[in-house]
């Protein structure tokens, strides 16, 4: 699994983990993100059970396991958090931040030690050491209880499934040609996202944020002008339909 540093300053670092060449072919490739502050770390959408060994292996190259004091699951899907039962053994004192509506569902993955911090529908903030991270509502995009993570200082939005693209494991980390990239994400957004109203509401809120990098859970990261290009494209896209990819 590859590790890529997205941002670093005096207070914290953003890392992206992904493009795992050893993962079984049948499972979708996922991007995991981690914010490391002075004494703590937040691991976002830590992935499925098949990914656990690879993920923990790359994490302990960066920091001691017990420094990962917070986990975040944007929603309840297995590719996001089915590894929870194993993280529960590895990080017994950690806190999992996740939508309130999924609490009793996510616990089915096995959670005897980790604490669940339920994020209310309107969102909330998490302060780890000197870093403030905002949980931005992204409901129905695609899950009915769903959040993004925004770091105003790093200007990074971890957008979960929004901006996700289905592509091969050796794909570049960043979008290099937006127009070409559309074909890799169009069907995913139309088929998985059920609500135009929820989509437009999210776009209007996200346009007000200062975003340098938009980091989805699958596919490539949008950087600079490509963030605005994505928002414009997404605004014009009709979702909640079954259509063939073009």
């Amino acid at each position: 699994m590859r590790t890529h540093k997205l941002f670093e300053n005096n207070s914290h670092t953003w890392l992206m983990f992904g493009r795992d060449e050893e993962k079984p072919n049948e499972i979708i490739d996922t991007n995991q993100y981690m914010v490391i502050s002075n004494k703590n770390a937040l691991l976002m959408d830590p992935g499925g059970i098949e990914l656990f060994s690879a993920m923990l292996s790359v994490v302990i190259k960066q920091l001691p396991a017990d420094k990962v004091t917070h986990l975040f699951a944007s929603h309840q899907d297995p590719d996001i958090i089915s590894s929870l039962g194993l993280w529960d053994q590895a990080l017994p004192s950690a806190t999992l931040h996740s939508p309130w509506i999924w609490e009793s569902f996510i616990k089915h993955f096995g959670m005897n030690n980790i604490s669940y911090s339920a994020i209310p529908d309107e969102g909330s903030s998490l302060k780890i050491d000197q870093v403030t991270l905002d949980f931005i509502p992204a409901h129905y995009l695609h899950s009915s209880g769903n959040f993004n993570v925004y770091d105003a200082e790093a200007k990074i939005l971890m957008s979960g499934d929004i901006g996700a693209a289905l592509e091969c494991v050796d794909a570049p980390l960043f979008v290099d040609n937006f127009d070409e990239h559309i074909s890799k994400m169009k069907m995913f957004h139309q088929r998985w996202m059920p609500s135009n109203r929820a989509k437009n509401d999210w776009i209007s809120r996200v346009r007000k944020l200062n975003i340098e990098m938009m980091c989805p859970q699958h596919g490539r990261i949008f950087k600079g002008d490509d963030v605005k290009r994505f928002l414009d494209w997404f605004e014009a896209l009709e979702v909640g339909i079954i259509a063939k990819s073009t």
Binding site: F52, S53, A54, L56, S57, V58, I60, K61, Q62, L63, P64, A65, D66, K67, G85, L86, Q89, A90, L91, P92, G110
Partner: protein, 203 residues
């Protein structure tokens, strides 16, 4: 008779499911006992020899229900422990993979404590698993020996039924058949469970 599943935790669930049926059969035995008492009362003096047998059928039903409920509980607990054991084994194998994959990592030793905890948990579950199998085996042997009395009871019931006169003979013979039939069915389930348990003991 079905083959033992490759996964021991599925086999434990299969044992629990199979033994669940014994409680229901034992409850039928209890109904048979009530029915026997009613027929014996109606038959009056002609079934005088049958009446004390109904107490034995009652006792057999009571012991069988109690024992099969206990066996069910033990089998369900064994099934749960098997799943927990499987999960603990899975966690250990994931950690082992990490120790191989990341053995040169700077912070590999930060996993020592949690790994030790997982090993301890695995050991505890292993001990519980063995203990529960042993309890279950003992209880199965006990119920099986209680059910041997059912054959004697059925034989005695048939003898007494033949003395009860034409009017009641078939009803009382039917009671004897039911006792024997229920006991045989339960013993069949027990034999199956004992076979499965003896294979589980090897895991």
């Amino acid at each position: 008779m079905s083959e033992l599943s490759n996964n021991y935790f599925i086999s434990a669930a299969e044992i629990a499911a199979k033994l669940d049926k014994t409680t229901r059969i034992a409850q039928q035995l209890s109904l048979t006992a009530s029915n026997a008492r009613a027929v014996a009362l109606r038959a009056g003096e002609r079934a005088a020899g049958f009446r004390p047998l109904t107490d034995f059928i009652d006792r057999l039903a009571e012991v069988t229900i109690k024992s099969s409920k206990n066996i069910n509980k033990l089998a369900a607990a064994l099934s749960q422990t098997s799943v927990d054991k499987e999960r603990a084994n899975s966690a250990i194998s994931h950690f082992n993979a990490i120790f191989i994959k990341a053995n040169d990592s700077k912070f590999i030793h930060s996993l020592d404590e949690v790994f030790e905890r997982c090993q301890h948990k695995q050991k505890q579950l292993e001990n519980s698993y063995k203990r529960q199998i042993s309890y279950l085996s003992e209880e199965l042997v006990m119920l099986s020996s209680e059910l041997r009395n059912a054959v004697i009871l059925a034989t005695l019931s048939r003898v007494e039924a033949s003395q009860a006169g034409e009017q009641y003979q078939s009803a009382l013979t039917n009671v004897a058949d039911n006792v024997e039939g229920a006991a045989n069915k339960i013993r069949e389930h027990i034999r199956y469970a004992q076979q499965m348990v003896s294979i589980l003991e090897q895991h």
